[in-house]
């Protein structure tokens, strides 16, 4: 089965649970494992948090979440139009954070990479950031 959806939410922390729950519900038609849905929920939460906390950092903006289901493979794009990431490779390193004083763990990308099958990040300063992730939702 093929299916797709997109939601666009205001970049506020209150919308994180809306985003992860919506994507989790979207996955259900592919008869996913419970673990796979939990992994997706967590990865979406990390990506949307990054957009809100780093991309916009309190400024107004939207986060766009696009999901595509092909059979039991979920492809996600999480897009913001915020400040962008200067050095994507560095930002994706374990425990890297620009906000240590706010007690951020620096593990967002680590979790996305571990919980999903594929992760790639495209970013441009002043334009925004797109996170792409893929995951097979049934046991291979």
């Amino acid at each position: 089965m093929e299916n797709h959806m997109s939601i666009r939410v205001k970049a506020i922390p209150e919308n994180e649970s809306l985003a992860r729950s919506t994507i989790a519900a979207f996955c259900l038609s592919s008869d996913p494992t419970v673990d796979a849905v939990n992994d997706v929920r967590t990865a979406v939460s990390e990506a949307v948090t990054n957009s809100i906390v780093h991309g916009y950092d309190g400024k107004e903006g939207d986060v766009l979440i696009e999901a595509q289901l092909t059979g039991d493979v979920l492809a996600l794009e999480i897009v913001d139009y915020g400040v962008g990431i200067a050095d994507v490779e560095m930002a994706m390193g374990d425990f890297f954070t620009t906000k240590e004083e706010e007690e951020r763990s620096g593990l967002g990308f680590t979790i996305m990479r571990t919980f999903m099958d594929e992760l790639s990040v495209e970013s441009k300063i002043g334009v925004g950031t797109t996170v792409r992730m893929k995951k097979r939702l049934r046991n291979a």
Binding site: P13, D39, T42, E46, E103, R104, S105, L107, I111
Partner: protein, 101 residues
């Protein structure tokens, strides 16, 4: 998101419930720190039985409390995380410094 506290001997049990993400992290930090400053404790046990979701924002929050408590030689432990939270904590390496009971 809720947190309830219970003292037993010199152990402070913090019962977390609901979901931990950026939307609640600020309030939760203040609540937990209030508990930690109001009593003298030997150990803090984070009971996660009623906690349904946590992402890396929660890891940062727990690490922050751990660093404060370590200075006062107070131990910290995690109890009854669900599978989703357990995986986040494992990937984070948090159990190396804050053991699971």
């Amino acid at each position: 998101m809720k947190v309830n506290a219970k003292m037993n001997n010199e152990n402070l049990y913090l019962y977390l419930s609901g979901e931990i993400d950026q939307s609640v992290a600020g309030d939760l930090r203040i609540k937990i720190d209030d508990y930690l400053e109001s009593v003298k404790v030997k150990n803090v046990i984070l009971n996660m039985q009623e906690l349904t979701f946590m992402d890396s924002t929660g890891v940062g929050l727990i690490l922050g409390r751990y660093k404060k408590l370590r200075q006062k030689h107070v131990g910290m432990f995690i109890d009854k995380p669900n599978e989703q939270i357990d995986k986040v904590l494992k990937v984070s390496g948090l159990y190396r410094i804050i053991p699971k009971l």
